[in-house]
């Protein structure tokens, strides 16, 4: 395959963004802002794109902070993962997905949290968010516990997730949010 073929696959009318690699803070903020501005320029509402920005930054931060596959750059350890944004079903939806390797032992904790979030309607989600914020269990955990709820609040549909086996101690965690 030549590079042009690869480019057409990774960036097209339907595939807005594809990335796989090391996620740093500067990368995640500036990339999320560029995607937002690119889609605004193509006519998307700025309110919807603010939600997209919120979702991509939370996803990238999850990869950066929690991916089990890591690299050390300038004495900082950064997560490695994947993020894809696609248009689907007559361009009605944007599907934002992120994936990264996790330790199998963390699967239950993530599953429990996401199942709880998925079971809630919008009003209960808002209540749950405020309750979790008050509890402060994540004060020293970069606030990631709130991140999933934040994504769900910004989405029009239920968030989806899957775990795939990688090896005896690792799984691949994939998260999908639609707006």
């Amino acid at each position: 395959m030549n590079l042009y073929d690869i480019e057409k696959e990774l960036y097209s009318d339907d595939v807005i963004f594809t990335f796989s690699g090391i996620v740093s803070y500067n990368f995640l903020t500036s990339t999320s802002m560029v995607i937002k501005k690119d889609l605004e320029a193509s006519g998307e509402s700025s309110k919807r794109m603010m939600n997209l920005f919120g979702i991509t930054t939370e996803m990238f931060q999850n990869i950066m902070n929690y991916s089990a596959k890591r690299a050390t750059i300038d004495n900082k350890t950064l997560g490695i993962g994947t993020c894809v944004i696609k248009r689907c079903e007559n361009k009605e939806y944007l599907i934002i997905s992120s994936g990264n390797i996790i330790f199998k032992k963390d699967e239950d904790k993530i599953r429990k949290r996401l199942d709880k979030i998925i079971s809630l309607d919008k009003d209960s989600l808002k209540k749950f968010y405020k309750e979790q914020r008050r509890l402060g269990s994540d004060a020293h955990d970069n606030g990631a516990g709130l991140g999933f709820i934040e994504m769900a609040k910004k989405s029009d549909e239920k968030i989806k997730y899957i775990f795939d086996d990688v090896d005896q101690i690792h799984s691949y965690f994939e998260l999908e949010v639609r707006i």
Binding site: Y25, T29, M50, N51, R133, A139, L146, E150
Partner: protein
């Protein structure tokens, strides 16, 4: 006591704390690399300030966007103010753009959470 004067960047807010007038201003986007580190100086200074505060304290916030860890941090900030409300007459002003519904909603949520604080929503 030391004043704070942190300049605004694209993804972090300006943070001003004038301890002589008892005014804190936070303005911009709040998406720091490490939220708790970024606001540590302000939180520490406020804790010191409330040992011997001015009669009135004003917290003026004008945020366009904040991430989930900033949401937790702001909650902790308001919680600290709530604990100190008998030591100084504290007002919080949450400024938001009329078109920014999510910041309006965020302000309302904080106001609900801190019923005993003088928490004002100010439309721009």
């Amino acid at each position: 006591m030391n004043n704070i004067d942190i300049k605004q960047t694209e993804f972090t807010p300006s943070v001003l704390f004038d301890t002589n007038s008892g005014v804190v201003e936070i303005k911009g986007n709040s998406l720091p690399e490490n939220t708790f580190e970024f606001y540590a100086e302000l939180m520490d200074s406020l804790k010191n300030y409330f040992e011997n505060p001015k009669d009135a304290t004003l917290i003026k916030m004008e945020i366009n966007y904040f991430n989930s860890s900033s949401s937790k941090l702001f909650f902790d900030l308001f919680d600290l103010l709530d604990e100190c409300k008998d030591k100084s007459s504290i007002s919080v002003q949450w400024h938001y753009d009329v078109e920014n519904e999510s910041m309006e909603e965020a302000g309302e949520d904080f106001k609900d959470d801190f019923e005993d604080l003088d928490f004002q929503l100010v439309k721009k």
